[in-house]
């Protein structure tokens, strides 16, 4: 092989290796730099630690794309740095269906349930960081099982997305009202 040919081959190989690296880095870095990801979209309407109704999905105006228009939506953006956050719902006698999904800062889901998953007529979830979980477990009495479901959130910030199914077009208002059964708020520290 002539020196000239060898030179071209090396450059071509280098270009391909760079292409591969750039491809991988782009894919991996996108979730960190995306400015209009699901968290940012929810943050534009929802304050911290409170369920806020999301605007109805309408043609040309979708806060989150690809959502079921039959679901009325509300979201609670959480921040665990000041303490655990508790999500509750009283679903006794509920008509229709409530869905709940818990997401980290990048939008990935770490838990999801519907009102079918309720125990004793209620949904009761506590979101904690690893340290808060350790501290809470230290306070637990040995022979007592906690009343709530404790979830360790992968990131301190994130959001809980709730849905309430409208059984038909005329049920949308009622579906929106059913979202009021949900609450989200900072857990007061235990003594």
């Amino acid at each position: 092989m002539s020196d000239r040919k060898l030179g071209w081959t090396i450059h071509l190989l280098a270009a391909l290796i760079i292409a591969g690296l750039v491809h991988i880095v782009t894919i991996l870095i996108l979730p960190r730099v995306a400015s209009r990801d699901s968290y940012a979209r929810i943050a534009s309407v929802a304050p911290i630690n409170r369920f806020t109704p999301l605007p109805d999905a309408r043609t040309g105006a979708e806060l989150l794309p690809m959502q079921d228009p039959a679901l009325a939506r509300s979201a609670c953006r959480f921040d665990l740095s000041a303490g655990p956050v508790r999500v509750r719902a009283d679903v006794r006698g509920l008509e229709g269906m409530l869905t709940l999904s818990f997401h980290d800062r990048r939008g990935g889901s770490f838990y999801a349930t519907t009102d079918r998953g309720a125990l004793r007529g209620g949904i009761d979830v506590m979101l904690l960081t690893r340290d808060q979980m350790t501290a809470l477990e230290a306070l637990d009495l040995e022979d007592e099982t906690p009343q709530e479901l404790r979830l360790m959130a992968p990131t301190h910030e994130g959001f809980v997305l709730a849905g309430s199914l409208a059984l038909d077009a005329g049920d949308l208002d009622a579906a929106r009202k059913r979202l009021a059964l949900l609450s989200c708020g900072r857990e007061s520290p235990r003594r």
């Binding site: 869905t99 999904s101 990935g108």
Partner: protein, 192 residues
């Protein structure tokens, strides 16, 4: 001098190629865990924190929050059961079977996946409003203009996509074993 120039060229070409292939992969909605059953397609694991990097990058870019398997399962169809693209100048019959679910909804979307404007201003049908026969089977007629029976109003755009969402369904854990025979038929009727 010339060799430096060549090195810079190689770096630029490589970077360009890398960016272009990344963009192309996201545009094509590459995902590792795609379930296909007839015309229906689902990515049941897309919602998870542990979803593959392409799925996570695509979701970060679009801002979508897919249904988690704990809530339900989303199937989309861009073609009928023969593989022909769904077009709104044709009527389609969507008929049972359907996997067991507490509720399900059927929504017509534009071919870009956005909500579409339909003749009756509706955004789809739910399992609660479907009329069934005595054995529980159903038939939905998807058409742009009003039809008697279970009518799914189609958008005014030329092409469309269907989204079928099953809520509280045991199919969530069995999604990978789903076959075309368990999901609704999607048959083209007549075209105008």
């Amino acid at each position: 001098m010339l060799s430096l120039l060549k090195s810079i060229m190689a770096a630029l070409v490589g970077a360009g190629l890398g960016l272009w292939t990344a963009w192309a992969a996201l545009e094509r909605e590459t995902a590792f865990d795609v379930v296909r059953a007839g015309p229906w397609r689902s990515t049941p694991k897309a919602a998870f924190v542990t979803a593959d990097p392409y799925t996570r990058a695509a979701l970060a870019r679009s801002g979508q929050v897919p249904l988690s398997p704990g809530e339900g399962l989303t199937f989309t169809a861009e073609t009928d059961e023969t593989g022909a693209p769904l077009v709104t100048r044709c009527d389609y019959i969507i008929a049972s079977p359907i996997p067991a679910a507490r509720f399900w909804t059927l929504t017509p979307l534009t071919d870009k996946g956005a909500l579409a404007t339909t003749a009756n201003g509706g955004t789809g049908l739910t399992s609660a409003e479907i009329v069934r026969d005595s054995s529980g089977r159903f038939e939905i007629l998807a058409a742009r203009h009003a039809r008697p029976g279970n009518w799914l109003a189609l958008p005014s755009e030329p092409a469309f996509t269907l989204a079928l969402r099953l809520y509280d369904t045991p199919a969530s854990s069995l999604a990978s074993a789903m076959s075309a025979g368990q999901l609704p038929t999607l048959r083209k009727e007549r075209c105008s």
